[in-house]
């Protein structure tokens, strides 16, 4: 019989499926695996990570990857110091900021025998993996999903960050105390932007004499000229005194650059969400000048002047040369919580780890503050800091300038003269 193309292809498929299977078999059944502990050998636990190393969130995903390594180093040193003979090993997969890939990643983690997965980043991705995780008892800890619709009790989804509802309140407070009365909320037309804008509107309307106008824009474009023009029209026609921008990094940079060339938009105040914080593009001269002119301020989940955060930021800078961006602290804490919960559970099993995670979080305090979960598995106590873009000798820089405390804002420095 001669080798037909069909049989050739089947052979190829066999190789393609078989090789990795064989490879993983050989690695996972080797002594260091998650199987039975061996005397004298450190027991190894694998923790799955599905991170946005490509796609829309790739610029923060790359930094997150470094945070993961930092957190695991710290965790491994720490558990050794406590006398545990275990190590935690990351299994990192890229999900391209896409929902279907996030699910496929979690499925392959499950099939590798991994019970704790950190990530995915976006709320839509968390939704995509929820059903599988619940059915297969995989603990999911997302460091950055903030959608209120995921606040569901008794599931396997945990989030080490507060829901957007809380930050929206903080931003509303910031805007109001800064004198904003009529605002246009210019936000991404996606899960994050819409939910944030809804809550902002709800809280801001509770203040006296306030008016809120809503203006969503299409996310994921490479230019926002007509969107910014529409915003300018809206600001002019409503007589708004402030713009609230709910955005990610790239879109915020684009929008602010166009707004800088617009006289109407340069004469109102700007308030931003946490998304754009840390993006290098925002430090260009155009946007820097614009920020000084409009006294631009933003909020972000942060416990200001938390020495643990400063230490974390210093270590990250020393080891990997990067500044922590948004959700780096919550990711760090997610890793720590996962590690300690596995140890507390005593066995590598989804249900046991879930129960242990709730307990561990009550007693853990990290760069992101106190990590205790509420009944929905979300961070119960979240503080919010205020950030600004300030001019320094090295050009424009991000700076945390204050914090939101209940109904008031406390400034620790004066960002704009």
């Amino acid at each position: 019989m001669r080798l037909t193309p069909a049989s050739l292809a089947f052979l190829l498929i066999g190789l393609v499926v078989g090789l990795p299977l064989g490879y993983v078999f050989s690695t996972t059944t080797s002594p260091q695996s998650t199987g039975a502990p061996q005397a004298g050998q450190a027991r190894e636990y694998q923790v799955g990570f599905t991170l946005p190393l490509s796609g829309e969130l790739s610029s923060i995903g790359k930094i997150w990857e470094k945070v993961v390594y930092l957190a695991l180093d710290d965790l491994n040193n720490e558990v050794k110091a406590y006398g545990f003979n275990v190590t935690f090993k990351p299994v990192i997969l890229d999900d391209g900021t896409q929902d279907d890939k996030a699910l496929a990643n979690v499925q392959s983690f499950a099939q590798m025998g991994i019970k704790v997965v950190i990530g995915p980043a976006a709320s839509s991705q968390v939704k995509a993996v929820k059903s599988f995780a619940d059915a297969n008892h995989i603990v999911i800890i997302s460091p950055s999903s903030t959608a209120p619709t995921l606040a569901i009790p008794n599931d396997f989804i945990f989030r080490t960050v507060g829901s957007d509802a809380k930050q929206a309140k903080a931003l509303a407070t910031l805007a109001y105390t800064q004198g904003a009365r009529t605002v246009v909320v210019f936000h991404r037309n996606d899960e994050y932007g819409n939910a944030f804008a809804d809550f902002f509107t709800r809280y801001f309307s509770q203040f006296n004499n306030t008016k809120v106008y809503d203006l969503p824009y299409q996310a994921g474009l490479s230019d926002y000229t007509s969107e910014v023009n529409a915003l300018a029209s809206k600001v002019q026609s409503t007589g708004a005194d402030s713009v609230v921008l709910i955005a990610f990094d790239t879109d915020a940079a684009n929008i602010l650059a166009h707004a800088a060339g617009n006289s109407v938009l340069s004469s109102v105040r700007w308030f931003l969400s946490e998304g754009p914080h840390g993006a290098q593009e925002l430090l260009s001269p155009t946007i820097g000048q614009f920020a000084q002119k409009t006294r631009l301020l933003g909020t972000r989940p942060l416990f200001v002047h938390n020495p643990l955060y400063d230490e974390f930021a210093k270590k990250l800078k020393e080891k990997y040369g990067v500044e922590p961006t948004v959700f780096c602290d919550t990711l760090y804490d997610a890793v720590q919580l996962a590690g300690w919960a596995i140890l507390r559970a005593g066995k590598y099993d989804g249900d046991a780890i879930r129960a242990a995670l709730v307990e561990v979080a009550k007693h853990y305090y990290g760069p992101s503050g106190w990590t205790m979960f509420d009944e929905n598995g979300d961070k119960a106590f979240q503080d919010y800091g205020v950030w600004a873009i300030v001019k320094t000798d090295q050009g424009y820089q991000f700076m945390d300038v204050g914090m939101v405390q209940g109904d008031s804002v406390i400034f620790t420095t004066t960002p704009y003269r």
Partner: protein
Amino acid sequence: MIDVLGFLITLTTYIGIYLVLSLTLTLEVSSGITNFGKVAFYGLGAYTGALIGTYLPLAITGSRASPFDVNGIQLLYTISKSNPVLDLSVFLLSLAAGFAVSALFGLLLTYPIHRVGSALVGFTLLSTGEVLRLFYLNTEPLGESKGFMGIPNPFAWLPQARGAEALYLIIVWCFVGLTYFIVSRIMNSPLGRILKGMRDDELVALYAGWPTPLIKSKVLALTSGLTGVAGVLWAYYFTSINPNMFTPSLTFNIWAMVILGGIDSIVGGVLGTVLLASVDYAARFVIPFIGTTLVTPDYLRWIIVGLVMLVVLLKKPEGLAPRRGGVSKL
């Protein structure tokens, strides 16, 4: 320990859904329809399924909860776990509706594109997909950017997750079988020859007495309907969908599979699909252990896919498994 059974179930489910897409694309390509808008029909099916799968159970049980609230979503989970009859019938209804809606949409789309050549057809379908995505993104009853969540898995009422997965796999593959039957019967018939003629020289087919635009619209309606069912299967497998799942890269992926196997051979399309989908899924078990992350594996994967497409087109245009013999099979 690696869970081999789970691995195989997941892999074959993905392959099954992709197979429906690539088989229908093979039929389209062999009829001269350069469908760069595969994702439009797929997404439409998924959305139709999700719409029925979430609104209908809530309406039948008399709940006023919205499928986008936490309450509604939890209620949907409860219903799907406790009411097998309702759960299954909603699923079956969705399959039928997904077919109907996508088929109708395919039929309507042939009007603007019936007079133009394949480049414009491809491009128009490509933009149709994008416009539909924007439509979902801006339509409140479709959940806007949130999309749907809590689409009931038709076998959620089974006690073990594994059983539900296996049963779903069987359903997917029954449908793959049906699609294979339809596509191969059509391609190996006098109609298949007419379609081939249409693809190579539509004017000659027209002069041969065949109302080519009408035939094209019927074929597109059929393949779109099948693609729509694939979308429904996807939505119920995933249990949550949102507009950003339906970007053009999905279409390009399917095209790569079909080109890899041989542009007008059924077996080739199947092989290309199985190969690419397997590599994609199995790679997850290798990549994390390689250790380097300087080059994102996904980028590398796309470069390889693109290169393979080019090499196949240049060196072996008939693909891995070319179609053998003539059309006429007596």
